[in-house]
Amino acid sequence: MKKHLLATVATLAVSAAAGQAQDRTEIQFWHAMGGQLGERTDAFATTFNEQQDSCTVNSVYQGDYTETMTAAIAAFRAGEQPNIVQVFEVGTATMMAAEGAIYPVHQLMEDQGLAFDESSYIPAVISYYSDTDGNMLSLPYNSSTPVMWVNVTLFEENDIEIPTTWDETIDAARALKAAGVASPLGFGWQSWTMIENFSAWHDLEIGTLENGFAGTGTELKINNPAVVGHIDRIQTMAEEGLFTYGGRRGDSRPQFVNGEAAMWINSSAYFGGFEADIQDFEFTQVPMPIDTSVRAEPQNSIIGGATLWALQGHEDAEFACTAQFLDFLSGTEQQADWAQATGYVPITNAAAELMDERGFFADNPGTDVAINQLSLNEPTSNSRGLRFGNFVQIRDVINEELEAVWAGDKTAQEALDAAVTRGNALLRRFEATNS
């Protein structure tokens, strides 16, 4: 009742302000995009509100990914859920399992008579977010993939080739170190870049049952010799002073911006921020290095980022608005603008083509690396992505165990064995609550 009254008052206020007689339906959109990304996201809602006069979208920033997801879940339990919520990729399994809480986007679009062409998305996106029947339950919004950010100036000044393999990376790091670079290699989001994407890039299984896509009975496989060898290699580089661990998530970003690291493996979505923050040197993106002893050619990388979920428990008019807004967001123009401004990859083929037509890739060398990595090959069951329950926690377990390696407390094998044991325990808890 109170909610209804508030909605009425708000609607009245809006129509009075706009001088319109028609009632507008109001919907809530919770997102996790702060700073410049948030302004862009809010701007989409504003544009949408101006374009038509039956719906008003309230775009609200709810904190980081974890906070937004937690807030939406808490709101759902209290019966106050938003119409649309942005959930990061590792929360996908949790959302998919909550059948009573979500309104699958393909279903919503169909019910509202709007076209939703799932095949217009790039394969890496389709394969990551589709359920076992091949339907997309949420609308892809922002997707990125790890690339290697390179300080071109440091490489050119010292006449060093930009590496494409891990052996070359070590050589380049040594040469850079000799030239005075403090810790040539760095990376962020270590589970995502060094374990998940390293596995996909080399077509290695991350977990059983097709990385969890085929069922909740999945078990982690990340203690295989290839991954152990990789972590061991990085630890050896650390001992040699070629790599310094700079923290979880994007905490090591200053290493690259300050020129302490000349090679930094992390999301392509740092593009927008780097453009603004880096003036002293030239930088570009190159593909992640390959370990030729594991595989001669790279397979494909996997995405990170978030999708938009429609939640149940609202009125028909609100669902109509939700569908219209999602339809608006998936428009080619919006997708292309978003990708150009942020460094997220264009998630539809049409958006990529539009960006190409506009000359964006030609003007900004390196910005097509991410999309090329994602669509390098048709994804295999190892490289389509992953779907593990409790994965937010499992990533923290992996963080903890890798940190024990960087501190020299555990060997790569010990740490990854422990990560698998602890991770599997969490997977079993998820299986117990969701089967």
């Binding site: 906070e67 879940i73 700079g246 940190e403 501190a407 602890r422 117990a432 609550t433």
Partner: protein, 294 residues
Amino acid sequence: MQKRVVFRHRWLPYLLLAPQIAVTLIFFIWPAYQALETSFFLEDVFGFNRTFVWFENFTALFSDGSYLRSFWTTLIFGLSVTLLSMSTALALAVAANRVLRGKMSYRTFLIWPYAVAPALAGVLWFFMMNPSLGIVAYMLESTFGVDWNHYVNGRQALLMVIVAAAWKQISYNFLFFLAGLQSMPKSLIEAAAIDGASPARRFWTICFPLLSPTTFFLLVVNLVYAFFDTFAIIHATTSGGPADATAILVYKVYSTGFVGQDYGSSAAQSVILMALVIAMTVVQFRFVERKVQY
């Protein structure tokens, strides 16, 4: 002669007490009960499925090595924060109590940090100590040759959060110690001075024992602070890492419940934490308080 006042109306006292009881019930007893109840269940995040699992959440915790390590971390953290912040505050209070000129400005400056929000304090320390950006990290490296990287070195990380958490609490302790010192009868100290007792002796034999009620109160408050309120500082600086070097119990409650959305385990952890703090407070009041001279 003391006169006993009796309410004439039978229900009036209860009525007058009702608001306080309501607040306690709604904000303390009810959530505590909810935590206790949830700790016996395994449930999915949206609350569709709920299975009663007896003590499974608890046994899972006690078979988890990192949870057990967290007890030690919490103990070291709690004691260090309390000792560091109380001793520094006491030293500052004694010094400030002697200052004659510019008293007010000294005191104001010393009280200031208390107004800084914990999360902000965390961010502040995060920037000062950041191995790439931080001014303190830079000075440690250039002056003392200390290779500061709390992202890799667990001891450094723990030291950093202890100092940050203690720093945050110094103002609060300072305020109480200063008030305690000022309420002390001057004549006692003057008499001791006339008898030839040195300033240090005067402090340890007169001021310190007289301060004991304040010290005891602060001990309880600081331990509770270190166990519960330091979450934001850890969240903003280390996220419990590297590995689990700074993952104190309250941080684990948060990360399991809010990051991992495992409500059963998180509730079980908060029940354990609750029991621990209750036990600690009982011990303090039963044994430590006996040494307090009021």
